[in-house]
Symmetry: C2
Subunit: 335 residues, 2 copies
């Protein structure tokens, strides 16, 4: 393997000079030598060793993508995470950084990963609590959180308008005559703020139509227990529609309903959340609240990059909009 030193020798200059042209410090190098060195670099296919570089100046160009989940889970099997992580990888690569995906729910693990690789930044998916904030302070590298509702001001965050998403779902159902509704949320037991917002928004908008969502009509969504969900839903008298705050659960629910002989949207209407690619492909197509994952990833990368270029910049928070995507899973109620 050819090293910087090799190039220096071939060019008859010192390592410093080569290092300077490598890092764009052309002001410190005479044009002719610079040209010679660049030619040699190309000729020998020399590529700087990142591990050496990060040792010497702590600029590893590695960004940790931490997915807060069981360490032994294939996190990319979740289409939402895969899409988001893939887009992040792409954005980082474009900016000359290297994304390193890690699934874990142990803080020691995260810290270890960051230290081991001198990670320069972190993009975090999942629950944010005080431990992780403390970690941010201790490491001193920029963190970008996603979908965080932490009240702490000093964090970077990119999220979506979940409350409004809930409102849009409610309005759509209400405008089509639905008055008795149910709601399923996967984050119910973990007390996810995300779902709390969506639920609150949903309730709020419902109120304006004289519709309501009784407390016991709010249930846990679990894609692995779709049959239970379907039975619960069917047992609720007079309910004509449900808002499921994650597409993947909504889709499993629709299938379970079909198995029970209940037709969507004729008997029951369903609205999902996320607009994963799958939502378009099922039958009936899932009407859902769309969030733009590509944009989310781009904004996260941009925020991080600004922090990387200038660590003194204030933290920033971006809230992206959501939109209704109408497909076939919502019907009209005759009144």
């Amino acid at each position: 393997m050819v090293t910087l030193k090799d190039i220096a020798v071939k060019a008859g200059v010192s390592k410093t000079t080569v290092s300077n042209v490598l890092n764009g410090n052309l002001a410190k190098v005479s044009p002719c030598k610079a040209k010679l060195i660049q030619e040699l670099i190309a000729e020998y296919g020399y590529v700087p060793n990142q591990t050496a570089r990060s040792l010497s100046n702590k600029s590893s160009r590695i960004i940790s993508l931490i997915v807060y989940a069981d360490r032994d889970k294939n996190v990319l099997s979740d289409p939402y995470i895969a899409l988001f992580a893939g887009e992040l990888l792409r954005q980082l690569q474009k900016r000359g950084y290297f994304g390193m995906i890690r699934a874990t729910n142990e803080y020691a693990d995260i810290l270890q990963n960051l230290n081991a690789w001198n990670a320069q930044g972190v993009i975090f998916f999942g629950t944010l609590d005080k431990d992780i904030r403390e970690m941010q302070d201790r490491t001193g590298i920029p963190f970008v959180f996603t979908d965080s509702y932490s009240s702490v001001r000093r964090i970077n965050n990119v999220g979506i308008d979940d409350y409004r998403g809930g409102m849009i779902a409610a309005e759509h159902l209400a405008q089509r005559g639905h008055r008795r509704l149910a709601l399923f949320a996967p984050g119910l037991e973990s007390g996810s703020d995300l779902d709390k917002q969506r639920i609150a928004g949903f309730r709020h908008a419902l109120g304006r139509y004289g519709a309501s969502l009784p407390e016991d009509h709010v249930m846990l969504a679990d894609p692995c227990r779709a049959d239970e969900m379907a039975r619960s839903l069917a047992s609720l008298p007079g309910v004509t529609g449900a808002f499921v705050t994650a597409d993947i659960a909504a889709i499993e629910l629709m299938r379970a309903l079909k198995r029970l002989g209940i037709s969507v949207p004729k008997d029951i209407s369903i609205v999902g959340f996320d607009d994963i690619p799958l939502a378009r492909l099922v039958t009936p197509g899932l009407t859902t609240i769309r969030q733009d994952i590509t944009q989310k990833a781009r904004v996260a990368a941009e925020i991080l990059e600004r922090r990387l270029d200038d660590p003194s910049r204030p933290n920033e928070s971006a809230i992206l909009d959501v939109t209704l995507v109408q497909r076939e899973s919502v019907g009209w109620v005759q009144s």
Copy 2:
């Protein structure tokens, strides 16, 4: 950040001794000192710096996952790749390695990535040609290819029995009375060996039933042009079924057929390939040839690990089996 040296000072020993306990050379350290050192490591939360480690002994523990695709593509938006890569990440992590995903179709790019990080191994998704084999020789690190049909003996490869997959698809259709069939393959224009095998197997088994697949009934599958596919299929007189060698294209085709008012499986039967999670969720459920991606990833990781532990081991090739998954997209033909 606490370093190895810090620990050595606290323990009142040399760096060498700490290094030895770190690397499990307990034979060279007195038990009591070893214990002390381990306690200090835990107490201070010391974690060895990988970049330094890889500089000093070239053991970066980084494995490059190279996806041969446009550099500017979100490769994880493909559910098959996301699932596979995610599983690979998990397997590598479990073995103490770090997977680094990179999408590119430029060899210079790959080489650069490998050199920059002292990658210790490569798992390669996609076309394999002589350039990449040459790269393998030049770098001297183990490569594991996936789904390669290269005739070169000196490579590691993990693939599936594509030929048999084609046969199974044909048998299933033929046994249900289908005699006039069509086939769509995404790799047709790129001359993918994978698809060639599947097609050959399909043809072969068809012959045993007196059924045939005329040359002009073999067409290019493109999920983005499903409508064209559907029209082509509909224009073929007497054809009652089609084998589509990728689920994602099969699913888009089914939707396009529905838009044309053609019913699956009543008018046309469809068999896919891969069994991506989606196949179960669409309506009608897609009958398909299943490959076990989790197993594939595990085997790839195992092969690589063996090569890493003992570089002199001979190359090996694993061919995994495929199975038929019956759902609802294939019907009977009345004769």
